[in-house]
Symmetry: C2
Subunit: 493 residues, 2 copies
């Protein structure tokens, strides 16, 4: 583009007024020009000095956002970063050698940007490994062996050889209660409640079904089950199991827990109707290894005017082990590097201190986030906003914000600045797991909202690969986060 502009002979003038790139909160169009006189008159007649001041600010702010988006959409740094992270490093479950490589690489990438500080924050994390591939099948009534697509849920114990038992299918906790010990003892409990396709937000359908994965093994064990089988949390009907973290409860027997692909779940469900006594076999070789010393990676730009007030934006380093973790959370990972670049390249130092944080082990307990919050609390740091991008990296739509009501209202007053970039959907109930530990420390918690129609098709499965990602969508998300950070940095909360 620069070369073009230098030539000064471009067919399409790239200046906002001509290229129709939105500035001043709405696209400049002939319609707008026609109504200028009316608006001008209105301004003269009714606008107070305060409003004029607000308007001048809005003009400056809209130009600031425009320059952030222009940089993000033309610097072309997201694609090579995400390619390296997914293809040269790959899956990076916490405690693994790949997680260590990702931490080293992230530190080096942050240092290339030359913020005031780049440092590692020590965190002890669990180290769970899948071991050799799981094996699972059952024999149908007509003697055929049906091989199931399964994967151990993160944190599950192994089966210690081949575990063989009958299966009871449930689609509600009530059904499990009704079965009681008599109905469950010595069997697998098969949690087969599908996500609701009628939810417009797939994320909501996911949250409404995730309890099966989170506590299925606990509730099944309380009734004497030998294992938990959980339908994969996706609306796709395919052969890819979707893993994810599961829990055990002190005093409750630990039983193995596996995710079944939706096709395997449907097949098992149909067979159980004709053949309720079928014997199901599962072999898993996963293992919890000793905890490992690991790190959060932090880059910091000291604020020019109020360095004591901290705004942070981050994503998580770790991913599940079944794929490259491109979408969860490779996109948030590279956006964190990009936001640090965008803030650093704004020329002037931000008014307040900005921290880019890459958290370790979001997927299996958010150990990195809890350690970060513990130290932030101990040191009495003044955190005004913590942002996270961990919603897939698809087309950004806006933000989910929790916290101090006045602060939230102030952010909402900037809505018109975000409208030209189509990221002005501001909702409550933020969804960043790594933000939760900062609840009582930071004024607000802010998660990026992305279009979620595609996310859960690939989430936590072997399908979460680089080719599913649209780079421009990730660039737009990074720019949106940098814009929000810049506005908070300028005005405070």
């Amino acid at each position: 583009m620069i070369e073009l502009v230098k030539k000064g002979r471009i067919m399409m003038d790239f200046s906002p007024a001509h290229s129709n790139i939105p500035v001043y909160g709405k696209p400049v169009s002939s319609y707008i020009r026609k109504t200028m006189k009316v608006i001008f008159l209105f301004v003269i007649l009714t606008v107070s000095n305060l409003n004029l001041y607000a308007q001048n600010n809005q003009k400056a702010d809209s130009l600031m956002l425009r320059s952030i988006f222009d940089n993000a959409l033309t610097d072309k740094r997201i694609e090579p970063d995400l390619f390296y992270l997914t293809k040269n490093i790959g899956s990076r479950i916490s405690g693994s050698e790949n997680a260590r490589k990702a931490i080293e690489w992230a530190k080096a990438k942050m240092e290339e940007i030359h913020p005031d500080k780049v440092y590692l924050q020590e965190v002890v994390v669990p180290h769970w490994i899948r071991g050799s591939k799981e094996a699972s099948s059952f024999t149908t009534k007509n003697g055929k062996v049906a091989v199931m697509s399964v994967s151990a849920l993160g944190g599950s114990i192994a089966t210690n050889g081949l575990l063989k038992a009958q299966v009871v299918e449930v689609r509600s906790w009530a059904e499990l209660d009704d079965l009681g010990l008599a109905g469950v003892k010595g069997k697998f409990v098969f949690f087969n409640r599908p996500m609701d396709p009628r939810e417009i937000e797939v994320f909501k359908a996911y949250l409404a079904a995730a309890d099966q994965r989170a506590k299925g093994a606990i509730e099944a064990a309380k009734k004497g089950a030998v294992g938990a089988l959980v339908r994969s949390l996706t609306l796709s009907i395919d052969d890819f199991p979707h893993t994810g973290t599961m829990n055990y409860e002190a005093g409750v027997n630990k039983i193995p827990a596996a995710a079944l692909s939706t096709k395997s779940a449907d097949l098992l469900s149909v067979e159980l109707k004709n053949n309720p006594a079928l014997l199901y076999t599962l072999q898993m070789n996963c293992k919890q290894l000793p905890d490992v010393k690991s790190y959060n990676v932090i880059g910091e730009i000291t604020g020019a005017n109020k360095p004591e007030e901290i705004i942070s934006m981050g994503g998580h380093i770790d991913s599940w082990d079944l794929s490259e973790g491109a979408s969860d959370d490779g996109t948030g990972f590279v956006q964190t590097l990009e936001v640090l670049r965008l803030i650093q390249e704004r020329g002037a130092r931000p008014e307040r201190t900005f921290r880019a944080i890459l958290y370790i082990n979001e997927e299996a307990g958010a150990h990195g986030a809890y350690e970060y919050a513990r130290i932030a609390g101990l040191s009495g740091e003044k955190h005004i906003a913590v942002l996270e991008s961990d919603a897939g990296g698809f087309s950004p739509r806006g933000f989910r914000i929790d916290g101090n009501p006045e602060a939230v209202a102030k952010i909402k007053s900037w809505k018109s600045l975000l409208t030209p970039y189509k990221v002005d959907d501001i909702q409550p109930d933020q969804r960043g797991i790594d933000l939760i530990p900062m609840k009582d420390i930071s004024k607000v918690l802010i998660s990026l909202t992305c279009d979620d129609q595609r996310f859960f098709d690939i989430h936590h499965s072997g399908l979460d690969t680089f080719d599913k990602i649209n780079i421009r969508e990730v660039e737009l998300g990074a720019a949106s986060m940098a814009a929000m950070v810049s506005l908070i940095s300028k005005y405070g909360l």
Copy 2:
């Protein structure tokens, strides 16, 4: 789902109030319940009968939209339809055997739905064929042969053997003028102005660059050029040429016109800087065959109360020949079948007449749409709204509406009904090519707006295949159009 509900023992009650599926314009939440009393008091104190009536209507309408979306998101008809169209039929350029197959299949699919009428509307269409694959290359300064990825633009003449000439690169009409006859005569003109990545709406960047493809061959020929080479209209940098229609002008010499992949365009541009006299070779074997008798496919449901008032929704049958035409316009094609189903399955007949229209030859002159409008005009039919889905079939965002201002205002008054489905972005400047001929016949023209970040990466290229499509996004678009049709049918315009 039905089976679950019958069992009556589901963990998650699927009724709106519990599953948090939005009804009444916003999700039902505890917060809402808490504020019910306040709202009730407010209603008692201030609301007029008219408002109460309006509220009752809104409740009925929100339930109507909810049931349309529930049907679209659970009936699972989009996926097999789009699979058949793209994989069993495939590319379907107008006049081709595949276009004929698509028309037959569409008629049969509409008949399966049992509307009141299904009929073919005869249209004579052009029949252009690409012939054997294009060949293009140049020899670099250091003697290497650089093979270019090119494809003839739709409607272009052939080269009649190997066309060999020097190349002049331009990025603006001004540059072309400055070169003049002396600079252009006997050469290829290489139109290499890229789309602007800084546009948030990629669609706008496309529209701002498309003039090069539309009139490049005309303007180049006026200055004596032997051929036109046009940079592919995409932001992706890859080896896939993107074709599309081009034009000739009466009295201006016809010259061959080809699209270069963005990588080929960049390579040629770099080489021209060191080697401005390089000889470029192009061979294209495309041909305009005699016109062919073809058809629009129309399904109609007669209105119960005002059958004389017609609302139509459509997409186009034809696609370019380089791919399966999954996104352009396979998605609009299957959405048209689905909207017909959704309206037919609403139980009660619509108040006004609904027509599902599959247009032939949108890509090369909109012959089908012009013929439809000609007959609608001749017969004096009363068309109140024509809708089209031809924007890629990605996550729907809203509608672009042109026409009678009162009618547009009426549609905008329904915005809150669309908000729960995230399709409430209502803008002017509709983008459906097939709607343009109805400008003076229908009260309003309405095009579906989809997220456009991914569309132009695949548009008109070999990449426009089934695997790029997210079926839920297409289902949501179909439901959005069925909802708009149903509201217009109920209230009129």
